[in-house]
């Protein structure tokens, strides 16, 4: 058999190999590994460069096609049911995971965690006055929360890459466009479809470089953070990993049931999306992969094109699981008794935090855990340092469960493709 470079580069074994190599390189040659950080950065940038036009095109096409199709009302209802149900399931998985795996916080563990938080060089945590007036605290206007969702200037929004606002704009604009009966609309839809296809071919091309990028990204990440903190936080990481695994398992089950194909086929078709999720830690970058895998599983194209970007940006499954586990972890650190009421608060609080975290990434997403902690009157400030320190790894789990969960939501929402000719086109 002749050696095929393309199939070698896209083989899951190659990818697994580069992940393992990356971890080893990060542990044994951290300094050298860090030099390759920019390689991973370049790859993510290239992945993201077409995400915005792709997002715009795919949602607009999705909305317009949906409006022209029969049964759009049913689909919207299903999307809502799918979102609410999946958020609830995610919260239950999160709470269930910690409720079953939680352990006691010993003074020794507390000391270990404390020495990570402890910043010897800085002054005290806070400066206050007793009598002199303090600067007025930034007042949070609830209406300002709404601003996070409302695009003011679509070109600014596009330039800033605020995905949530782009989705809102596309929904509004798509509905308006879908209701116009003119040739202009058809031309625009054709154009957008071309943008979509061009973006997909760029993604596919980039995919060949994934093993190299993975090696660079993982080794530099491991090299930078070191393994010490991960050992200290091992319990939390394990809980998050179990939570993520459960979401992926439930998600796979839903996709399997909905697709009517064999379980192996489902796993084979969805694994690439998961790999991209773990390596890029960007759910946006996973959208084209998720859509393609759902096409391959013969789900309705129109539905997939709308539901995937919508759910990926709005339905924060990964974050909800993360918040539920993180909150119980924090309560455990402070020895605050949770009880059944506490766990119920965590359940709904993490859904709330998930909604509040829409449109955030990285540290901001982690900091939103304060939403749940405030409900339980728990201090989150100090532990945030710990959560941020291990977040490169947590972000992988979060993105993976977020992406896979929402692929499952899409599978739940969308019907099976009837037109066989179209499905054959996407099969490579």
């Amino acid at each position: 058999m002749q050696f095929n470079l393309k199939s070698f580069l896209s083989s899951p074994w190659t990818i697994l190999g580069s992940i393992i190599l990356g971890v080893l390189a990060g542990i044994y040659a951290p300094a050298a590994s860090m030099n390759f950080e920019s390689v991973g950065g370049i790859y993510i940038s290239l992945l993201k460069v077409v995400v915005i036009p792709f997002l715009l095109a795919t949602i607009l096409v999705g909305v317009i096609s949906l409006l022209q199709k029969e049964g759009s009302a049913t689909m919207i209802r299903k999307i809502i049911i799918g979102f609410v149900a999946s958020m609830f399931i995610a919260a239950v998985i999160g709470v269930g995971t910690v409720a079953l795996t939680g352990s006691e916080m010993t003074p020794a563990k507390q000391a270990q965690l404390g020495s990570i938080v402890n910043d010897k060089e800085s002054g005290s945590d806070l400066n206050i006055t007793l009598k002199e007036p303090m600067p007025a605290a930034a007042h949070v206007d609830p209406m300002q929360m709404a601003q996070k969702f409302i695009p003011e200037n679509i070109f600014n929004t596009l330039a800033a890459g605020e995905s949530l606002k782009i989705v809102i704009f596309c929904l509004i604009f798509g509905i308006a466009l879908g209701n116009i009966k003119s040739t202009g609309q058809e031309i625009l839809v054709d154009m957008l479809k071309s943008v979509q296809q061009a973006s997909i071919s760029i993604f596919k091309f980039l995919n060949y470089f994934l093993p190299f990028a993975l090696l660079a990204m993982i080794s530099s990440q491991v090299g930078k953070v070191g393994v010490g903190i991960f050992l200290t936080m091992v319990e939390f990481i394990m809980q998050q990993a179990i939570g993520g695994f459960l979401v992926i398992a439930v998600g796979t089950f839903v996709i399997w049931k909905r697709s009517g194909l064999s379980l192996m086929t489902v796993i084979r078709e969805t694994k690439e999306t998961l790999i991209v999720a773990v390596s890029s830690r960007s759910s946006l970058a996973c959208i084209p992969y998720a859509q393609e895998s759902l096409h391959k599983l013969h789900f309705d194209k129109t539905g997939v094109e709308l539901t995937v970007p919508l759910s990926f940006t709005v339905n924060r499954i990964g974050s909800i699981v993360y918040y539920a586990i993180a909150t119980v972890f924090i309560a455990n650190i402070y020895g605050a008794p949770m009880g059944l009421t506490g766990l119920i608060v965590v359940l709904f609080g993490s859904i709330l935090a998930g909604l509040a975290s829409a449109g955030t990434t990285g540290i901001l997403t982690v900091a939103t855990v304060a939403v749940v902690c405030d409900l339980l009157k728990l201090p989150s400030e100090a532990v945030l340092v710990l959560l941020i320190a291990v977040d490169p790894l947590m972000d992988m789990i979060r993105t993976a469960s977020h992406v896979h969960g929402n692929v499952a939501v899409t599978a739940f929402v969308c019907d099976k493709e009837i037109d066989d000719g179209q499905t054959q086109r996407v099969t490579t």
């Binding site: 003074p107 507390q110 000391a111 270990q112 965690l113 404390g114 020495s115 938080v117 402890n118 910043d119 010897k120 002054g123 005290s124 945590d125 806070l126 400066n127 206050i128 006055t129 007793l130 009598k131 002199e132 303090m134 605290a137 650190i333 402070y334 020895g335 605050a336 902690c373 009157k377 728990l378 201090p379 400030e381 100090a382 532990v383 710990l386």
Partner: protein
Amino acid sequence: MKKLLATLFLLVSSIVYAQLPTSTVPLPPDIAAIKKRNVLIVSMTKKDNPPFFSGDEENIRGLDVEIARRIGVVIGVPVQFRRDAESFAEVVEQVRDGRADIAVSKLSITGPRLLTVRFSDPYIKLKQAMIINRLWLSQNGQGKEVYEVIRTFNGKISFIRNSSYDTFARANFPKAVYTPEDSWDKIISNVTSGAIAAGYRDEFEIKKISFEFPNAAITTKTVTISDSIDNIAVAVNVNSTQLLGIVNYVIRNEYNNIDTKKLMDRYKAEKKLVAPTVTK
């Protein structure tokens, strides 16, 4: 006769001349007493307080020890450190009752103390600070800003018994429940465990916690009160006016620019030297 008178005059004047340095210039009584005793008695608390004073009699060292020795040099007598006071209040009492000449013991200037002893110029101006249990703060904050919670502090506040912070706490936090303790370490462990809400002391001692109790960082929050004052000075007896002048002279000339950072550097340097013995 003339010759005899001249000889007598010479004799007398030479005797007078020989006596001049010691007996002709009378010393103020406070200094004279020290000179006569030929030792300057300096009071310090029994408990070590690095980098101010620490170590046993032979190896005693620290900033307060240096200041005391400089004062001794100016007077021209050796220094003896009296280390039997159980509390800061007792140090002040020793000076008040004349059992010690001065107290260089990281003493804060407070109203009640000023009624019985005199204080020198401060050689360090510290701010007051607190260590607060984070869980208590979250549960009692009621959505208020941290500074508001502290201004109307109504939890259990702990401080070293008979220290200046006993006075400060009663003045600044009238609604608090006062819980004096003998040991600062006990206070820290109580705040860390949540048994009491807050510990109250100067910013330097609060900062030191991060070195001595690294586990405290996660359960406690440190707060500096920037419009507060904790002036550290040397105490002398009310009658020792001349001695007070000498103390002020030493402080103004040699110890007039010590800040929290320099203090911290001293502390770190000392810590490194005595590392094996301070393991807790």
